[in-house]
């Protein structure tokens, strides 16, 4: 099933890229065309914690530059008043990959149709999450964005805008017969490099409605899909998942308020994941025993065995988390800030609740409070500093990385600083 639907997804992506090429060639023949426009973004910075236990996919006491560094390059071309195309490349670390590419058609005023690979408007900033210049935080609150289920999807999209006096309503729809994505949460750690956890969505439908004006916006999203997860260790099909989010944005007289609630309310069939979960818990327990033994004996062989077992469990656990996060995770945050000249100090409170409280295998529950400042160095560049305190809750590890030798996970502080450029 995966192979068949993957082929369909690949065909759609290849078709859209091919279409872009054909249109590009055709447009090149027009002498009166406006040239293609190129834009880019760049973010770089440093992040570290004060904790002995790594957090959110490898963040530790060691200053980490790579995780906050990325570059994007974007091309947009209007072929005429009704047709256009756009594509984007993104580089993160040593990887350069196509981010999205689609063709747009404007059949009538206020309506846009798109076909190709597109960013999914799941959470408030999830369709532009790599562009630091477009939001106030160093990184969006992980209590919501760590379980962003769909980053991009190949299919058909539509946007309709309705003006109602001083208020406008914009409805975005996206449908994909079949699309494959990689979960944000599976970013890997320095000790255990990123694992390729592919999540497949079939019959994915997303509806995003934004109502408001320049100063005040209310947003609601509903999405539904049949989800499958396939890795070397793990395979689950036909998880019927629903995704929902509601958000609020107020930006007036220098004041900013952003708030969002997001949840996934799908159902996992226990018969599908039960055996895999049992095996994983057994492996984690074994690794914990090996870890305790290594601590007692201090022997190099025991440490090596415990480390290997721990990394294996960690990898499998991350994959399991991909499934467990499909059910019941719910997070929210509220951020408020105020512009003082070119600077905007802000504070955020965020909460993540995960009903799957087995700390060995799944992401857990936590709350965090953070304070930061965003400084607009010029119209294209900002500098941000942010400090955050994290409290794991309900006896879980929150978003701390798995450590089978631990039974308790500590509070910690996270410090981050970045420079964002968009041009």
């Amino acid at each position: 099933m995966f192979e068949g639907t993957n082929r369909l997804s690949r065909r759609l992506s290849v078709a859209s890229l091919g279409l872009l090429g054909l249109i590009g060639v055709a447009s090149g023949a027009k002498a009166d065309d406006q040239p293609a426009t190129w834009h880019g973004f760049f973010t770089s910075g440093v992040a570290f914690t004060n904790s002995s236990q790594s957090y959110n996919g490898g963040l530790s006491r060691s200053a980490d530059i790579e995780r906050l560094t990325r570059v994007g390059l974007n091309i947009e071309k209007s072929l005429d008043a009704r047709w256009g195309y756009a594509a984007q490349l993104i580089a993160n670390g040593k990887t350069i990959k196509p981010d999205w590419a689609f063709v747009s058609w404007y059949p009538m005023k206020d309506l846009t149709l798109r076909i190709g690979k597109q960013k999914a408007p799941m959470w408030l900033v999830s369709d532009h999450i790599d562009v630091g210049r477009s939001f106030p935080w160093v990184t969006p609150p992980e209590e919501v964005y760590s379980f962003n289920p769909v980053k991009r999807s190949s299919g058909f999209g539509a946007t309709y805008r309705l003006a109602l006096g001083g208020i406008e309503a914009v409805a975005d729809g996206l449908y994909s017969a079949s699309s494959t994505d990689t979960l944000d949460v599976v970013s890997g750690t320095k000790a255990a490099p990123a694992l390729d956890v592919k999540v497949q969505y079939r019959r994915l439908g997303i509806v995003n409605l934004v109502v408001g004006n320049d100063a005040f916006q209310v947003r609601g999203v509903y999405a539904k899909a049949a989800v499958g997860v396939k890795t070397d260790y793990y395979q689950v099909h036909n998880l019927n998942a629903g995704f929902g989010a509601a958000g609020l944005k107020v930006e007036t007289h220098g004041f900013l308020l952003l708030s969002e609630y997001a949840t996934i309310f799908g159902k996992v069939d226990p018969s599908e994941v039960g055996e895999a979960r049992d095996n994983l818990v057994a492996a984690a327990t074994s690794a914990a025993t090996l870890g305790a033994k290594a601590q007692q004996t201090g022997s190099a062989a025991d440490i090596q065995a415990a480390t290997a077992a721990g990394l294996g469990v960690q990898g499998a656990a991350i994959q399991d988390a991909a499934v467990s996060q499909m059910v019941g995770s719910r997070g929210w945050y509220a951020t408020t800030g105020y512009n003082i000249g070119a600077a905007m100090p802000y504070v955020t409170y965020a909460s993540l609740k995960n009903p799957d409280n087995n700390h060995l295998v799944s992401q857990g529950s936590q709350v965090s409070a953070s304070a930061g400042i965003k400084y607009d160095a010029n119209a294209y560049t900002d500098i941000k500093l942010q400090g955050q305190h994290v409290w794991p809750k309900d006896g879980t590890r929150g978003i701390l990385d798995l450590d089978p030798s631990r039974t308790k996970y500590p509070q910690l502080n996270v410090f981050q600083a970045v420079v964002d450029v968009a041009f």
């Binding site: 426009t37 994007g72 005023k109 369709d127 532009h128 562009v131 210049r133 805008r161 119209a379």
Partner: protein, 162 residues
């Protein structure tokens, strides 16, 4: 029984009794004509179009929607091409603040979202007001903006933004 009429002309609202509406309407039109002859204030911004542009006026809301990429066409005018001023020009900041209700930094953050989700790119920025007027004069569907004091006969004024 008194019937009242609302007469909207040149941005002003006149409330008139129906018995005198014709006379006052004529007076209002005269006032508006007179007001055109009043020299523009130095910082006023003129929204300008090609002399063949089908509309003779435009609302500030339509201008904002066009420059923020929310619409591409106007009722009665079809698809419109908008042209901006370069980022280094002083008038761009004034235009962003007065018409778009954003600082330049907020405007760039706004476009960051639109551009990098493939939802549109900002209007092309021309180097100066003379170039803008030349471009408008050569594009029948074109709209741009210059300081009101720099308007000449090569373009027509759709809106004055004080």
């Amino acid at each position: 029984m008194n019937f009242c009429s609302l007469i909207l002309t040149n941005g002003r609202i006149y409330i008139v009794n129906s018995l005198h509406s014709s006379f006052i309407a004529a007076l209002a039109v005269l006032l508006s004509l007179l007001s055109i002859s009043v020299p523009a204030v130095a910082d006023d911004i003129a929204i300008i179009a090609n002399s063949k542009f089908p509309l003779s006026t435009i609302s500030a809301e339509d201008v904002s929607n066009l420059y923020l990429g929310k619409v591409r066409e106007l009722t009665g005018a079809g698809v419109v091409k908008v042209v901006d001023q370069s980022a280094s020009s002083a008038i761009k900041g004034q235009f962003a603040q007065k018409v778009l209700n954003k600082t330049l930094s907020q405007l760039n953050a706004y476009w960051s979202v639109r551009i990098f989700t493939g939802r549109g790119v900002p209007p092309v920025g021309l180097s100066d007001e003379r170039t803008t007027k030349e471009w408008i004069a050569n594009n029948p569907e074109g709209i741009g903006y210059v300081l009101a004091k720099n308007v000449d006969k090569s373009v027509k004024v759709l809106l004055i933004v004080p």
